[in-house]
């Protein structure tokens, strides 16, 4: 789950919703929190829908057999309805797959969705903060762009790994 948080947190940071200007980090932080809330609600809604559908004996086998198709279409439709980016849809799909393959109990699934959304938001907040600090540093031109972004993501990943091991 930690790998998914880092990979898709980075993906959302680079290709997610249009970020606020780096000069206004508080606004950027607000957008990150809103995106995380949307991610949590969308994921939880689809997980609840899948759990509800699996309650009916007549369709339980079909729901479990075609689970990827079911949540894939549901997450695509919900992402389009909310006018979200493609990266958001891919993140929701990946999160639901990972959560539903580890848990069967709905309350545990929703708890995991909360952990994933919070983890992604924490990763993005750290990333935003460090990028803001970089604005006031003299980064060499040869390091600007992807090299510095990947370095930042790597360092944040190391810190979060320590926190993750301490928490779980």
């Amino acid at each position: 789950m930690y790998f998914l948080i880092v990979a898709f947190g980075f993906l959302l940071m680079v290709r997610g919703a249009r970020p606020a200007p780096l000069q206004r980090p508080v606004e950027g932080l607000g957008r990150i929190v809103r995106e995380a809330a949307d991610l949590f609600l969308t994921t939880s809604l689809i997980l609840a829908f899948l759990a509800f559908a699996a309650e009916f004996e007549e369709i339980r086998t079909v729901v479990r057999e075609y689970v990827v198709l079911g949540f894939g279409i549901a997450s695509y439709l919900l992402s389009r309805y909310q006018k979200k980016t493609d990266a958001f849809f891919l993140t929701v799909t990946a999160s639901i797959f990972m959560i539903s393959s580890k848990q069967r109990d709905l309350s545990q699934e929703i708890l995991m969705a909360g952990v994933v959304s919070s983890g992604i938001a924490l990763f993005q907040a750290c990333f935003l903060g460090l990028r803001y600090r970089l604005l006031f540093s003299s980064v060499p031109i040869s390091m600007k762009g992807w090299p510095s972004l990947c370095l930042l993501a790597g360092f944040i990943s190391m810190v979060l790994w320590g926190l993750w091991n301490a928490a779980f």
Partner: protein
């Protein structure tokens, strides 16, 4: 290329399995580009993108049923697919099938796929060596790969021939 690699971080695969998954992604990418290139005019306006995502979801389900490969790979295919492909404003019908642009278009996609497979295998090899042979703990988490990719991005950005421009 790097964004397409990101989903691989969620796969707990070694060198061989990562290579097989990368090969599948590349073959699927080529098939997708080929399929949509010749059928794109059949889709109603502004529906190509929806059809593309539905195509991805259906294949994710089929591959999951057959091989139990988690569907993260559709993100890789999405990021390897050319941007203009999903752009509603691009008028694909203006490019004739027998135009000179067609071979170049497919050649670029073939190069992209081959480059991606090579990139994934290289990183999987580095991860395997770093984690198992050298025992570097950073490779047991995404940080190790992110630092390797940062080094690769630095080398790519500072190629000698680019500086001469």
């Amino acid at each position: 290329m790097f964004l397409a690699y990101l989903p691989f971080m969620a796969y707990p695969y070694g060198f061989f399995k990562a290579g097989v998954a990368a090969l599948w992604i590349v073959i699927f990418l080529w098939g997708t580009v080929f399929f949509f290139w010749f059928t794109r005019r059949l889709f109603p306006e502004h529906s190509l993108k929806h059809a593309f995502f539905l195509w991805l979801i259906v294949w994710a389900q089929a591959v999951w049923m057959l091989t139990k490969l988690p569907p993260y790979w559709i993100a890789s295919v999405f990021f390897l697919t050319p941007v203009s492909f999903l752009d509603d404003t691009t008028k694909a019908s203006q490019v004739r099938v027998f135009s000179k642009k067609v071979p170049r278009y497919f050649f670029e996609r073939i190069l992209t796929g081959a480059g991606f497979a090579g990139f994934v295998m290289l990183l999987a090899f580095v991860r395997e060596v770093g984690e198992n042979n050298l025992g570097i703990q950073a490779f047991q988490q995404p940080a190790g790969m992110l630092l390797v990719v940062a080094a690769a991005a630095f080398l790519w950005k500072n190629q000698p021939y680019r500086r001469k421009r």
